[in-house]
């Protein structure tokens, strides 16, 4: 676990409700209200996507929604910036390949 529950300056983290999310179909535990990218790091996942041409791995780079290095496919929607998107119970997150694909359900929505 890479969480920082206690800190010399910041208050101890309040116990947040846990939610279950799925990364590439595997369940992991996240904290309610946290950003997807943070939940992934807390669970030791550092690769968010692979690039289109060279298939190279990418992880977070700016963490404030500017660079799009952290984009993943979330609930069928590709290119979601995971550093500025909160987790939700039952969320399905896919490590994105290239520009990703829209799920059919979302497309027909």
């Amino acid at each position: 676990m890479n969480r920082i529950p206690n800190h010399p300056i910041l208050e101890d983290e309040k116990p947040e409700k846990e939610v279950q999310i799925f990364v590439d179909n595997k369940p992991i535990i996240a904290l309610e209200g946290e950003m997807i990218a943070a939940a992934l790091i807390a669970n030791g996942i550092f690769i968010n996507r692979y690039t289109t041409h060279k298939h190279k791995p990418r992880g977070i780079y700016c963490a404030i929604g500017r660079c799009t290095d952290c984009i993943m496919t979330v609930d069928g929607v590709p290119n979601v910036r995971t550093c500025v998107t909160k987790v939700r119970e039952g969320m399905k997150i896919i490590t994105q390949q290239g520009t990703g694909v829209w799920s059919e359900e979302v497309q027909n929505d």
């Binding site: 910041l10 550092f46 690769i47 190279k56």
Partner: protein, 370 residues
Amino acid sequence: MIEIELAIVGAGPAGLSAAIEARRAGVDVLLIDENARPGGQLFKQIHKFFGSRAHKAGIRGMNIGTELLQESEKFGIKTWLNGEVCGIEDGHNLWVVRNREKSEIVRAKKIILATGATENAVTFPGWDLPGVMGAGAAQTMINVNRVLPGKKVIMLGSGNVGVIVAYQLLQAGAEVVAVLEAAPRLGGYGVHTAKVCRAGVPFYVSHTIKRAFGTDHVEAVEIVKLDSSFKQIPGTEHVIEVDTICLATGLTPLTELAWLAGCKFNFVPALGGHLPIHDDKMHSTQNDIFIAGDISGIEEASTAMEEGRLAGINVATELGYITKEEADARSQEIWDNLNTLRSGYFGQKRRDAKDSMLQNGKEVIKWNIH
């Protein structure tokens, strides 16, 4: 379409301060930020601030953020969170995408752009590996999201952000193996630098990163010494085991909206690059568009707040809520604060760059508007 007297883009220290001053004077304000929480970069700044004797010195950034939010609540400032401003038209119409699902047009008599900045990258083989990130990204992860993005970190850049984040990484429980600085001397405030030094972190001046090693993630970094013209000296390479490389190599103002609005720009490297030309009222070259904070030159949160207040007061004056005399008196006070903040070894450079920008603004803006 929504009509408003003043729309402010960005709820960081600059935007919040502008909103508070304008609202206090009676202006109908709408504050828009793309994030779920206001405060911009303030809540990740858990260090104590410097400042003019009287002004917020010694208070931690995050607590200043809390104060600003309380004040903005007290004044009942209308705030749209999760609102991305994606365009600006006719100098008055903002295109806002709300909650990533709905477009809305805000027609404002006056606009203040307080969009902040983004971190610079430097490239070297392996810089795109997971584990290479902005120092501010690491800061966001540890102080806001409360997760450690790495355990063994090297910091490139010894400016304020570099040393502040290095220290905050230590506080969060990471090991910082070194701070590198390409220049022959260190770049951050002495207090912040000394804290990192005291913690036993080695500083390497005239050094940079040659490459990062790793397949799925950073595993090691090769550093190299630089000569006086910043060229790598062969044979001085040195490999260090790390899992994270933080880049603290400066910030660039987020100026897209100002470009779209047709503001004129100057290139001022000492303040981060292309900046909208502005005068001492934070007025841009566009009639009803003001700027404040990092967008008008990279500095720090304390200067961003003062600039925000200036913009807020001057908008209120143009809208007829404050007399010119009152505005002048209050602006003078703020300028005294700004000049104190922009003094000393590190501040003077910014002061000089700002002064020439303001001089330029005075000439160009008179030409344009009056």
